[in-house]
């Protein structure tokens, strides 16, 4: 390979106020969306007003600190994260005002986790040291889940601690990517995927036992992406896919009740008041929203069961309109493209694998949720990242964004300088 002329392109002139204008647009979007919820009833809803005020303060506080204390130059990911979180917070507050504060706390914890994970991801050596601990912890957590969890909506994946209930499988998603990411040196030294396959089988097997098929599918899709990134071998991926198809066929053959969960798929109108109740209502009400929606709090889908979790995309279509709903989907597409661009220039394969796997996980989850409620895929009950109500889902979504952001060289300006000096 002869020498290529590789030179950095001339530096583009900095746009110092680009982030401020973006933040103003997001804040305006959030304030306008929150007004009908705060002033919707006869009296001003003070709890939502303070919750929302806290959310805006958190958002501005983060950006100011990120810009001036951490010298962050690229904040597009956080803009997207706050915009989606804001949509989720307003939707939850309009449907179930009592959950708004909990959702805000979840955003606070998620953001804290995001910053903490960015700190951990700074050092590749620390990641290597933590990887076995995280793997054991993840398997242990799923084991604990099988023993202690209670069944909610057909899935055995909730552990109650006091007045809080957590979904360990959401936290294991973060661990799944953390364990899957490895440095190039490690990948070349141990070219075998065996350990990671065993870990993945443990996780996916536990999810099957918990009857959480949606999350199992997300794990499997992410596993395929990580396996491809680690091995770079299409044959291995083909083999693993074939094994997975045979495994799924065996489960359906020996456990017919699993297949029965999907019997309404593509037949929701035949079971409009039974198994296909949620999907048919989503299709009816979403279409009534039109391009600009009926207005926040004006919809009827909110009265359907699980409207703020599994069916929240339907509410967005109905109340916020198809344009905003389409923008939500495009936000995830943007994140995926962003992750790919960052991954190509990442400083280690640890970051490349983590960023691409996180983007894949978010996309699969989005597809399962959006296509699930519109009957293009079976309804598996997975949440819409950042938007659906749920603390662990929110924390996981922020953590996945941390993996993507860590692939950006600009995230660690001091480290970059340190490396250049070295």
């Amino acid at each position: 390979m002869p020498e290529k002329k590789v030179t950095a392109k001339p530096k583009k002139k900095q746009q110092p106020f680009a982030w401020v204008s973006m933040l103003f647009f997001v804040s305006a979007f959030q304030i306008i969306s929150a007004l009908p919820v705060i002033f919707g009833s006869e009296e001003i809803n003070r709890e939502i007003l303070f919750t929302f005020g806290g959310f805006l303060a958190l958002e501005w506080g983060y950006f100011i600190c990120a810009r001036f204390l951490a010298e962050q130059r690229a904040t597009e990911l956080e803009i997207i994260a706050f915009m989606l979180s804001g949509i989720g917070l307003v939707t939850v507050a309009s449907v179930k005002p009592e959950y708004a504060f909990k959702q805000f706390i979840a955003i606070c914890i998620g953001l804290t986790g995001f910053i903490a994970l960015l700190g951990i991801m700074r050092n590749v050596e620390v990641i290597s040291l933590l990887r076995p601990v995280v793997a054991v912890g993840a398997v242990g957590l799923l084991g604990l889940n099988l023993v202690l969890a209670r069944t909610i909506n057909g899935a055995l994946n909730w552990i109650e601690i006091g007045s809080f209930s957590i979904q360990p499988s959401e936290l294991v998603k973060v661990a799944f990517i953390f364990v899957g990411a490895a440095s190039l040196e490690k990948l070349q030294s141990t070219r075998s995927l065996t350990k990671y396959i065993i870990f993945s089988l443990g996780c996916i097997g536990a999810l099957f036992l918990m009857r959480d098929f949606g999350t199992a599918l997300i794990f499997f899709a992410t596993f395929m992406v990580i396996a491809f990134l680690r091995s770079g071998d299409i044959k291995t991926i083909g083999l693993l896919s074939a094994v997975a198809v045979v495994g799924a066929a065996m489960i359906i053959y020996f456990r017919p009740h699993v297949a029965s969960r999907f019997e309404t798929y593509r037949h929701v109108w035949e079971y409009a008041n039974e198994g296909g109740f949620q999907q048919t209502r989503v299709l009816i009400y979403a279409s009534s929203g039109g391009l600009f929606g009926l207005g926040i709090g004006e919809g009827r889908l909110k009265n359907v069961f699980a409207s703020t979790t599994d069916l929240i995309f339907g509410i967005i279509c109905e109340e916020w309109g198809m344009i905003v709903a389409f923008c939500v989907v495009l936000c995830f597409a943007f994140v995926a493209v962003y992750a790919l661009r960052l991954a190509r220039n990442a400083r280690s394969t640890v970051y490349t694998i983590a960023a691409v796997a996180s983007a894949a996980m978010l996309l699969v989850q989005l597809a399962l949720n959006v296509f699930g409620v519109t009957d293009l895929l079976p309804l598996t009950g997975v949440t819409l990242p950042f938007i659906s109500r749920g603390g662990t889902s929110m924390i996981c979504s922020w953590a996945l964004f941390a993996f993507i952001k860590s692939a950006d060289i600009k995230t660690y300006p001091k480290l970059e300088k340190q490396m250049d000096d070295a």
């Binding site: 969306s33 040196e185 340190q418």
Partner: protein, 263 residues
């Protein structure tokens, strides 16, 4: 209050759609206009051919496989031979279970080893010098500057060599110079001479200076006082003239300056 709320809901429907598109659009614009320039961190310079292989990543796979960052299709290099990475402490090389090993300064490495500028690193029989890009760029710039100066000097010398000069006879005593403007000049006291020298000791037609090829010669024209070159008489023939030769025409001394004037 209720009317105002209805109005707010109505307006917000359109505003929200517009703002959502605006936020997404500005994020996309930011992504599109962002530049991810690659920077060369270091080089591997192949011994012998001196081919330079730039290392543009913080982790660079080296091997025979096409998926590696640097591909060396040599039998002694394994498919995935080694990894050169940039760490906080500098550049390091690690052997990734290669068949023939990695050698730094002639010693086989067993663990991750630091690489310094100028170290030799060998993957099997493929040997290289490791060059830190910053140091190397500085050295190359200095080398290029030196070569440029050398080339300029050589060019100047060549130009000087190729240039055609007009010689002259310098009369240092009289502080006078006689330019040899023709290819064959007669020197003497007579006004018909090409070079007229008004000395009594010089005959009317004393000597002839002429060019033959690129060389100049002097010939005595049977003068009574004689012609000498470097104190040796020119008699019955001719004498080759060289730059700085001292010509005596009847005791009058001239210096032959071959490069007196550029043509």
């Amino acid at each position: 209050m209720e009317d105002m709320l209805d109005y707010t809901v109505l307006v917000s429907r359109y505003l929200l759609a517009g703002l959502a598109v605006l936020v997404l659009g500005s994020c996309v614009f930011s992504l599109v206009t962002r530049r991810f320039g690659k920077r060369v961190g270091s080089y591997l310079v192949q011994k012998g051919s001196k081919t330079r292989y730039p290392l543009t990543r913080w982790e660079n796979a080296i091997g025979r496989s096409k998926t590696c960052d640097l591909v060396f299709d040599t039998a002694s290099v394994s498919r995935f031979h080694a990894v050169i990475s940039k760490r906080r402490t500098g550049w390091v090389v690690a052997d990734t279970n290669s068949r023939t090993g990695v050698f730094v300064n002639g010693e086989k490495i067993e663990k991750v080893t630091k690489l310094n500028h100028g170290d030799t690193v060998a993957f099997g029989t493929a040997a290289f010098w490791f060059a830190d890009a910053d140091v190397d760029d500085r050295e190359r710039a200095e080398e290029a500057k030196r070569l440029k100066a050398q080339r300029a000097a050589a060019k100047n010398a060549k130009q000087n060599k190729q240039a055609v000069f007009i010689p002259a006879l310098i009369d240092e005593a009289a502080e006078k110079s006689y330019v040899l403007g023709c290819e064959s000049c007669i020197i003497g006291r007579s006004p018909d001479c090409d070079i007229r020298v008004k000395y009594p000791a010089v005959n009317s037609q004393h000597a002839k200076i002429y060019k033959n090829g690129s060389a100049w010669f002097i010939e005595d024209l049977n003068s009574t006082t004689g012609t000498k070159v470097n104190a040796r008489a020119v008699s019955g023939g001719r004498r080759r003239l060289r730059d700085g030769d001292i010509i005596g025409l009847g005791g009058v001394i001239f210096v032959f300056d071959e490069r007196y004037k550029k043509q």
